[in-house]
């Protein structure tokens, strides 16, 4: 189709944003996520950490939502809203870091497997298959149990359990792109393997990587919460959604808000990430391009 060259230059990112904007659910997800990040960033501005998040008070024990404490208080009299907002400061960065590690390591392994010889491919992918055969949460539990409970170990465990899906996705993307004519064209002008991978292959498999990352962050938040829930993650009194849920469940019959609101926070965050991830997948799909 003829294209009018007079039209203003549209970069790829702008085109993706234009398509994303049309997807109402994705924008809803983006707005929720932006709000959560905003509150997490300015948590100290709204709620003082020492007085509201850590300090216990027997008098305020298990108070239902009120004008003073919008979401009620927990079993030692701490404001639940304050703890949820500060909890985001743990869950979100940890989730982002784990997925960043998984993306880089998994992506690199996948790219090597896809671009390299059959033998390299076989070795890497069979190892990944072994990891994939174990449910990721079980794998994280086993790793944390073996390495000991600490923040670093938890990050490490969740990262490792997230590597295989990334390796698989990047590998299959690389396998497709490897056979494109522009890769052959790059070889014909004498581009090195390194240049071909970094300049020609990886930029063209960003779409599946970004989508997988967005969706995995949700999974990672859940994993952090799950580990904390069973006592292998963040330990009290640090506010973390999973551990709040875990300690709150004993009081659930008498004070539903102790469990309900941290659960809602987890749900909202994951929902927003999933909506955004789905929207990104559609927006990045080159087949839908105009």
């Amino acid at each position: 189709m003829a294209t009018d060259v007079n039209k203003k230059k549209k970069s790829q990112a702008a085109a993706v944003w234009r398509r994303l904007k049309k997807n109402k659910m994705a924008i809803l997800g983006l707005v929720i996520l932006a709000l959560i990040i905003f509150f997490a960033l300015f948590a100290n501005f709204f709620f003082d950490y020492d007085t509201m998040v850590i300090q216990q008070s027997a008098a305020l024990r298990l108070k239902p939502p009120s004008a003073e404490h919008w979401l009620g208080t927990d079993e030692v009299g701490r404001d639940i809203l304050a703890r949820i907002v500060h909890g985001a400061r743990i869950s979100l960065p940890v989730a982002f870091i784990t997925i960043a590690i998984a993306t880089v390591v998994g992506g690199l392994l996948g790219a090597i497997a896809g671009y390299g010889s059959k033998r390299v491919d076989n070795v890497i992918m069979r190892i990944m298959d072994v990891f994939l055969a174990i449910p990721s949460i079980l794998l994280s539990i086993a790793l944390v149990a073996a390495l000991g409970t600490s923040m670093t170990n938890m990050v490490l465990a969740i990262s490792i359990s997230n590597i295989p899906p990334f390796a698989r996705i990047v590998r299959s993307a690389v396998l497709t792109i490897k056979n494109e004519e522009y890769i052959e064209a790059a070889r014909a002008i004498g581009a090195s393997d390194k240049r071909i991978i970094l300049k020609h292959i990886l930029p063209n498999c960003m779409a599946p990587i970004i989508v997988q990352a967005t969706l995995s962050i949700a999974g990672s938040i859940l994993a952090i919460a799950s580990l904390s829930f069973i006592g292998l993650g963040i330990s009290p009194p640090t506010p973390e959604w999973g551990s709040m849920l875990s300690t709150g469940r004993q009081y659930f019959r008498a004070a539903w808000w102790v469990c309900a609101f941290p659960g809602l926070a987890i749900m909202l965050t994951i929902l927003s990430l999933n909506l955004l991830g789905d929207g990104l997948r559609d927006a990045l799909d080159p087949k839908l391009k105009n």
């Binding site: 790829q12 004519e181 014909a188 002008i189 004498g190 020609h200 930029p203």
Partner: protein
């Protein structure tokens, strides 16, 4: 015959086999030809006959199974990585599909400038941009497309980008792998004219790979007809069309629908469909589809025979068939 010094590329007994689950695929099976400086050799054949594989073997993108490819007297098949890299400046390729041969994430300027960067032909961004602008001008691309992306361009302009990229290193020899077959007719004519102009201007030598006999007649000095990995007939362009010797070339010619109200199509001069190139039986590969096949066509492989005036044909009955009422 050709002055030895004039020959820029010579292919000797070139073979390329691929392993496939059902046997060995004979993509290129004992091919010989040579091209003189400034000449265009048209390599014609149907899909799967191995013509594109020859193009990629010449560029060193595939490793030949056996045989020699001499470029300016040096054997490409025996070159190491470094020598091959240096060779890129002299030997380039234009691809068939202008939609998949350009990286969608790179701008037009980046695509055309990439070879210059890789081979350190320019110093500094200003020089690079100036050179890219010059190349865009040479192939008739407007300068404002510098920052555009491939998806914003139509097929004809994309193919011009591919041509500019191939020209950027100032090569002596360009393999054109079906450069116009995915373009519309009116655009196709523009690109063919451009390629002809560039040849005259820069003294380029082309290997022009195509399935379209009318395009090849317009474009080439010499023509080689290929069938299932082997050359069946080579001759000067006019000679081949006036005095077609091989039944397969004859069939190809008869198959072109003439855009004319007066010339009605002849009956197609072959039987059945393309045979498999996997583990072919010895003998003439075309025998199973040939209207004139005899017993002596099978059994042993046939070499190209000289029929004078630079006309070579592999058919064992070539020359005898002229009297046959169906022939010509």
């Amino acid at each position: 015959m050709a002055d030895k010094n004039d020959v820029i590329l010579e292919v000797r007994n070139l073979k390329k086999y691929f392993k496939s689950p059902t046997g060995t695929l004979h993509a290129v099976d004992g091919v010989n030809f040579s091209i003189r400086k400034g000449e265009t050799l048209g390599l014609v054949g149907e899909s799967g006959c191995g013509k594109s594989t020859i193009g990629r073997l010449i560029l060193g993108l595939h490793q030949a199974t056996s045989g020699e490819i001499l470029f300016n007297g040096r054997n490409i098949c025996e070159m190491n990585k470094k020598q091959l890299h240096a060779l890129r400046s002299d030997l380039q390729i234009i691809f068939q599909d202008p939609f998949s041969s350009l990286n969608p994430r790179m701008s037009i300027g980046e695509i055309i400038g990439e070879p210059l960067l890789i081979h350190n032909k320019v110093h500094g961004k200003a020089e690079l941009n100036a050179e890219v602008a010059r190349l865009m001008d040479v192939v008739g691309l407007s300068a404002r497309l510098f920052n555009a992306y491939p998806h914003e361009l139509d097929g004809g302009r994309r193919q011009r980008v591919g041509i500019a990229r191939a020209l950027s290193l100032k090569p002596q020899f360009i393999v054109c792998d079906e450069p116009v077959s995915s373009l519309d007719v009116s655009i196709q004519a523009q690109v063919l004219n451009l390629l002809k102009d560039l040849q005259a201007e820069f003294g380029l030598t082309y290997l022009f790979i195509t399935h379209d006999l009318s395009v090849v007649k317009f474009f080439s000095d010499k023509i080689a007809v290929m069938y299932l990995g082997q050359l069946v007939e080579t001759a000067d362009s006019t000679e081949l069309f006036q005095n077609t010797l091989h039944p397969y070339s004859q069939a190809l010619l008869s198959a072109i629908p003439a855009p004319s109200s007066r010339q009605k199509m002849q009956r197609v001069k072959l039987i059945g469909e393309l045979q498999s190139p996997i583990d072919p039986e010895p003998g003439c590969r075309f025998a199973k589809r040939c209207l004139y096949a005899k017993e002596r066509c099978t059994g042993q492989d046939l070499a190209l025979r000289d029929f004078g005036k630079g006309h070579f044909c592999a058919c064992c009955q070539a020359g005898e068939l002229a009297g046959n009422p169906n022939f010509n």
